[in-house]
Symmetry: C2
Subunit: 417 residues, 2 copies
């Protein structure tokens, strides 16, 4: 029978074998006491199975407080498998099975979902990213380099007219992609429809004039009916891209938006830190991106090298790899590099990932360029040109004034390597 | 201008004042560098405001690893407010604003959302729990005591026919409420429609015969269209209640199911441990239940006294209070007491909460009763009768054999107090 599996980091005062069996039992046929219907036949058919236990450290203080008098806590990497039959092709049921009550079990003083291994029999029921890297490139007309993008700043407060003016400057500067901030949804001072109308008028005019279609990810995050209406609004005005705060909206409604099919879906992962930042709890990005790829988003945030947040470069690099890793029939996600980016991180980003299949976003990094947003966009493209061609930024900056001014504002490139 | 606020527990290597300002800036008009459009007028209108800083401990090791060389970490309780105008009446936008990127900020080595204070101008846009405590009681015909419920066990593996047989036994035993396990959604061996049909045939017959309508919460957790279809299936067969794994499904799709309006929505919080169990990260139940109450669920899990999971009794008691706390126009949630419950926890549950407005669930606690499920249900009702009347369980058990057998199986009542 076809099975799927999940790999966890665990910490437990019990023996590793016992803890792994507890995990498997809680998430399949067992409960805290034997019950009559739990026959051998049923167990054989539906029970989760411990596939592998790889012991790691043993420590003396639990990573997460637990009601226990134990003094030793064993850490391990554990793989558990389930019959696919337990969940059918139900995506939220997958989540309830591989996560669900596991985080509540007192036998664990730490539990972290590291990765999922899903069979093609499961993934084949999902379309996954309809646009992904290829579709985004095609719609933006950008090849051979990262898409350069920006976030409208200030995050909140601008009217549609003010935003459209800013969009005009950015489009003229040669930007590929613009997005609303995740704090900007549908407030009274910038009603969604009005914002779409004002911005698309600018971008449609720009496309007519130059042939270049700038992508704008409108933050349609809302309740379901409003999001559906927002999709129609974007399409009606010639827009191509929608942004969803995926954690706030949730898996089922985000999938419904992706299933609508007409728009590139930009997955904003705000709230992700809550799920991953405690080292002994939550989940790794590898598992997280798999769930959202199944839901069908096209682009997913990964922070960036030398970001303004807590995340290490190693973690960012691993996330970019996860977005691009094969997953049967599902296309890769376009990694969205963002958070305190200025272009000065371009060489290190390229050195570590060896790819230009990125959406490279700078908010303040563009808007706060000393010579304005136009110079900010140009500086980013220059930084990436230098990075891909292996030319040191300082050297490239000698003949490229926008890059030079960016360096003067944000500091030496070495600081980002 | 009307404002809403959130209260956090924070830990930071910075001064408390600076950290609180970072929080406020990141979640409103600011970014990591000053940008041109961030005018004084815009800031005045849209900026988040630090309302209160209450210093707590100072420690020398960060609760969550962070890229810092600091040696002192200050903890505090901080309240921040925003103009309601920033989010309009958009529920996911509220989440992105009060949580969002906050958990990523490196200035925090711990951040936990404790509570939300939302004005009536916001809550008035939401219906909240349509059935809640009153509506559930009315549909079940149960007053003056907790609803006694159970979970079909084993969690997975039973066919619809097997499940219906079990339901018949439980209904005959006088149970008020039955639910699918969260691991049982729509697998090939128990297709949703078939399960509903088989079970409702039993429960409708039971209602015709006895006048008592047993509530069954069918786990309709799935993708959106399937969930909508599942609602219709339940209604078509005379069902009254649906269960949603709220974290797996997400806020927007769960709200869409609640908005459908015909069914009592049983909110299963599996996955909640991931959001709350690390003491320095995530959120408290008080804030969590507020979001789901806004979405419109009617019942929400709170674990139970002496539960099989990690949670302390104090935390469970606080959660029950949070479900029942006033929230402007929104009705209270019916707290679902569950996890290793056997009825022997009834006296302590009543002593600490002084309420019978509970849905008291026992899975193994009923199914594993030595004289069968029927005796299990009776024992639970006996335990609650004793608890509410202040009669010690041991004393009550002298004249009540089912309770006596339950005590013999699960141990002395003292162990649950």
């Amino acid at each position: 029978m076809t099975r799927f599996s999940a790999t966890y980091w665990i910490e437990t005062p019990d023996s590793l074998e016992k803890a792994a069996q507890t995990l498997a039992a809680e998430q399949s046929s067992g409960t805290f006491v034997a019950v009559p219907g739990e026959t051998d036949e049923l167990k054989q058919r539906h029970a989760a199975r411990v596939e592998k236990i790889e012991p790691l450290d043993v420590i003396t203080t639990p990573s997460i407080p637990a009601p226990t008098t134990a003094t030793l806590f064993r850490q391990a990497r554990v793989t558990v498998s389930w019959p696919l039959e337990n969940i059918g092709t139900n995506l939220p049921a997958l989540v309830s099975t591989v996560q669900g009550n596991l985080y509540e079990i007192r036998a664990f003083t730490g539990l972290r979902l590291l990765s999922l291994d899903l069979p093609a029999e499961f993934t084949n029921h999902f379309r996954g990213p309809k646009f992904g890297i290829e579709g985004t490139r095609e719609r933006a007309g950008v090849n051979g380099r990262p898409l350069i993008g920006t976030i409208i700043k200030p995050s909140v407060g601008l009217t549609p007219t003010q935003t459209a003016k800013m969009v005009e400057v950015l489009a003229d500067a040669g930007i590929d992609f613009i997005k609303d901030d995740e704090l900007m949804a549908n407030p009274p001072h910038s009603p969604f429809e009005q914002r779409v109308k004002s911005i698309m008028a600018v971008l449609n005019r720009h496309a007519d004039k130059t042939g270049k279609r700038v992508l704008y990810a409108f933050n349609l995050t809302a309740e379901l009916d409003a999001m559906k209406q927002n999709c129609e609004t974007i399409l009606a005005h010639g827009g191509t891209c929608a942004m969803v705060s995926i954690n706030a909206v949730g898996l089922a409604a985000t999938k419904a938006i992706c299933d609508r099919g007409g728009l590139i879906v930009h997955g904003h992962r705000n709230g992700w830190g809550m799920l991953t930042r405690a080292p002994a709890l939550g989940m790794e990005f590898a598992a997280y991106q798999a769930l959202w790829r199944l839901a069908g988003i096209d682009q997913l945030h990964v922070n960036g090298i030398a970001n303004k947040f807590w995340e290490s470069d190693d973690s960012v690099v691993a996330s970019i790899a996860a977005c691009r890793a094969p997953m049967h029939n599902l296309a890769p996600l376009l990694p969205v590099v963002s958070s305190g980016q200025t272009g000065l991180q371009a060489p290190e980003t390229f050195r570590r990932t060896q790819t230009t299949d990125l959406l490279y976003l700078a908010g303040g990094g563009i808007a706060a360029h000393p010579s304005g947003a136009r110079a900010g966009v140009i500086a980013l493209r220059q930084a990436w040109e230098a990075a891909v061609n292996g030319v040191p930024l300082d050297e490239f900056a000698r003949t490229h004034i926008e890059l030079r001014e960016q360096i003067e504002k944000f500091g030496k490139p070495e600081k980002y390597a």
